[in-house]
Amino acid sequence: MNLSVNFAGLKLKNPVIAASGTFGFGREFSNFFDLNRLGGISVKGLTLEPRKGNPPPRIAETPGGILNSVGLQNPGVHAFIREEIPFLRQFDLPIIVNIAGNTPEDYCAMAEILSEADIDAIELNVSCPNVKKGCLLFGSTPEGVSEITAVVRKVCKKPLIVKLTPNVTDITQTAKAAEASGADCVSLINTLLGMAIDIEKRKPILANTMGGLSGPAVKPVAVRMVYQVSKEVKIPIIGMGGISNGEDAVEFLLAGASAVMVGTAGFVNPGVWVETAEGIEAYMKKHGFGKVSELTGALQE
């Protein structure tokens, strides 16, 4: 069976992509499975300059999910190009580069640099809840999304994915803003802003007080948003949020996604990416689908 998908200038051998921030630059998980089996990788969010990230604790377990507040710890875009691309290029694996910045200039500078690098797409992270400046501020309003998307579009020679935050009143507005400003694709959802308290210490568990919620708990919110966005935009959608297996992924595809990203579930089960692709394949066999794209939006209403 053919699991490949083609959209937004990306060719993926299967629709399962490792979600940004949960898979580093692929080195660690490559000790556990063959990265050639992934549909793609979205690397840890990069900034122009290296970032230290937030103080620990950076993670809290919540019912059916986790909160994280890594705060974009990363070696910077230059070190990435120098040290990580050669490693990743050993594999037949589309590289999506997730980027975040404090200012439109930051985003543009990175997009320009990456346009000349050996990568496959750029994912604009305008939705990270764990940094003080920029990022989520842009992603929270249609105007902010428009602004960043438009300026980056001008300099970006790679397929441009805009990653949307779920922490908005109406995600179709930010999705439409991204589309209108030249995005080739939207990916959603980033994490839901949340908080957990250690009642013995009477302190937030995360040193940064609040963090981003991901994992199975957020799945219904994510499916809903993919569904809503798919009704309002024509560009393809990469869906994510709480996917743990092929069945979950099929929910996102039916809701309107062209591909999915999987993150948190890999912490518990490093086999999740491969198993999710296999699960989609099994579903297609059982129900007589020949191509993954036939599943996209195939909801009976």
Binding site: E28, K44, F267
Partner: protein, 257 residues
């Protein structure tokens, strides 16, 4: 991906402290002291994340691995109900272990509470001239594996916070006195951060080789998610290293407590 191990034995060592003996050629053949396994306490959403537990002892001949843990939350509480014959999903061995001492060296381990478990494994694998163990517990009732430590270490000093056994108070007091007098070649420590901080600082000051094993809440356990941050020196500045991949064992002089 299959990290299943079979539980060969479970034992309650003291109030709230449990031992699980796993059968796993994979772990037993590769493990070194200081490494940990990352275990699933349930196969669903209850205690969703894996829990890191140090390797406490390995029997290479029988391919068994002992882990010992304290029941202190959702996950470890679920672990308590595992029984002989059950399957336990244990990823590992993970992380970097301690630097083993050379034959002629004199070493000390300084452990507190649940920090003592990896130190037992370290002592048992350290074939060196003289091994001293300093162990701190809350009370007499909390003392575990005393016999095992006794067998492997030439000298064993125990302190309890409430004085119900051994030295009264923190284990750092007898350790510091001994350190002054003995100047060992290597010191290894694992336990509460304040304890490790005292041990690390004293050794660094005196130029004694010292490694400490850090704890931090984890996500992936392998270095991919960057949540298990731990402040380390970076020239004049600091950086966040990661306990699961760069540690859990760090050279004392690298750490910023």
């Amino acid at each position: 991906m299959n990290f299943d191990t079979i539980i060969r034995k479970t034992e309650k060592l003291s109030e709230g402290i449990y031992l699980i003996r796993l059968h796993s050629a994979r772990i037993a053949s590769k493990a070194v002291p200081g490494q940990f396994v990352n275990v699933r306490c349930s196969d669903g959403l209850n205690a969703y994340l894996r829990r890191p537990i140090s390797i406490c002892r390995v029997d290479r001949k029988n391919n068994t691995v002992d882990i010992v843990f304290m029941n202190r939350g959702k996950g470890t509480n679920l672990l308590c109900s595992f029984a002989q014959g059950d399957t336990l999903d244990a990823m590992g061995p993970l992380g970097n272990g301690f630097t083993l001492p050379k034959e002629k060296e004199r070493i000390a381990v300084v452990g507190g509470g649940i920090g003592v478990f990896p130190l037992l494994y370290l002592l048992e694998e350290s074939h060196c001239a003289c091994k001293t163990a300093f162990l701190g517990f809350r009370t007499k009732e909390a003392i575990v594996l005393q016999d095992a430590f006794h067998r492997t270490a030439q000298k064993l000093v125990i302190a309890t916070d409430d004085g119900s056994y051994g030295t009264n108070g923190l284990i750092t007091a007898p350790f510091m006195a001994w350190l002054e007098a003995e100047r060992p070649d290597r010191v290894y420590s694992c336990g509460p951060a304040p304890m490790m901080k005292i041990v690390a600082r004293a050794c660094v000051q005196k130029g004694i080789f010292c490694e400490v094993s850090m704890e931090q809440r984890m996500g992936c356990g392998i270095g991919a998610c960057l949540v298990c941050a731990c402040k380390v020196q970076d020239g004049d500045d600091y950086q966040y290293a990661h306990v699961c991949k760069d540690g859990p064992v760090f050279p004392a002089e690298r750490l910023i407590f």
